[in-house]
Amino acid sequence: MPLGAPEVGNGFLDGPLGKGRILYNLIHRWNHRENASKLTRAGATHCVAPYEVFGLIAAEYAGQPVAFEAVYGLLAGQSNEGIEAVRLKPNHPMVGRTLGDMNFKARKLILFGVIREGMCGLDSPVSNFRLQKGCFYFNPGEDFILQDNDLLVLFGHKYSMLHLRENLEKGVLS
């Protein structure tokens, strides 16, 4: 994890470490956008940009302080409510059933979306966004059919999340 201030030093570190990319998860820090692609080419798995993230957060706060405080608290894990992803194991009883069958409302959870392996469906009626290894379906409707390995991205209290996770593990939804 080369997180030193000068990006030149961080890039230099990647040379020897990059050879072991299977073993290492190289996370870089950068402050100048033009250096991000260089660090990726040098072998970085992820790049973190403190100044860019600061700019994003500060600008968002200036425009919408109430929404910012609410959502940032969730994303930063500063409260009992947060965002979590729950995976549907292969051959789980819920596979082939719909999101409506999950009844998130009764579980005091809010579905943000589903991350699914593979390419995004071009003709999908659900808003979707391509990820490195899959596709994110935003706010899919109740008739969205669940598949093996789907990751359900949810907002809610940590205990509601735990309850759902345990029920999915047991293969029951009560």
């Binding site: 940009a49 100044y51 600061f54 700019g55 609410a70 959502v71 005091k108 391509r130 899959g134 209290h157």
Partner: protein, 244 residues
Amino acid sequence: MSSRETLIFGCGALGHQVGIQLTERGIDPYLYSDNLDEVGKMTAKGLNAGVLDYTDDDNLRNVGIGSWVKTIFCLFSEEAKNLFLTLSVRSLDPNLKIICVSESAAASKRLKAAGATKVIDPYEISGHRVHELIARPYLVEMLEHTMYGKQIDVAEIEVPADSGLSGVRLDRLELSQRYNLIVLGVVDLEMGNQLIFCNSGFEHHLDPGDILVVIGLKDEIIRLKQDVAGNRLEPEPGSDTQSL
């Protein structure tokens, strides 16, 4: 001198980033620094910037502190400068929104005590991001492609007086079926600034002044905002008045 409502003090890398992000959101900031070289770099990058001696209160008044300026960012690389500036502008305007950079928890406390509205530590945020990249990489990637990548927006929508939303129970607000967005919850400022989750089980009836927090595609958020402003949200036929 500028007549803008948003000013950035400090023309380093942070000032540059905040300037870019604000400009992308349609806010036109003016950057100030006591360093001529830094100001030159900002203007070369296309941002509006000028030299200012911020230690003189008259200079601060001349650029609108205490009158038309609503938000300032204190982004000097030295904490002492940010502290001095925060103390100065707070004494000139008790209602000014002051957003400061901090590099430690102790500095954050000092800046808050000096009058900052919000203190953000970029290294704390990055530390959290690095932890998340290790613990939940799929979630971070999704958020970076959607919410941080600005494909999905977060918005706050205030319930106006005489709105059809008034009296509706929060957990019966079924807007995500009419609009392609998610209503996360509501902030009732009379009860504090805590978010009341839609599905928390808490029985909250919407009042004028409540702030709905929604996540969704930009167009859908605009559509909802227009419908709320135009009071075009009516209960579904056959539903009770506590539902929408």
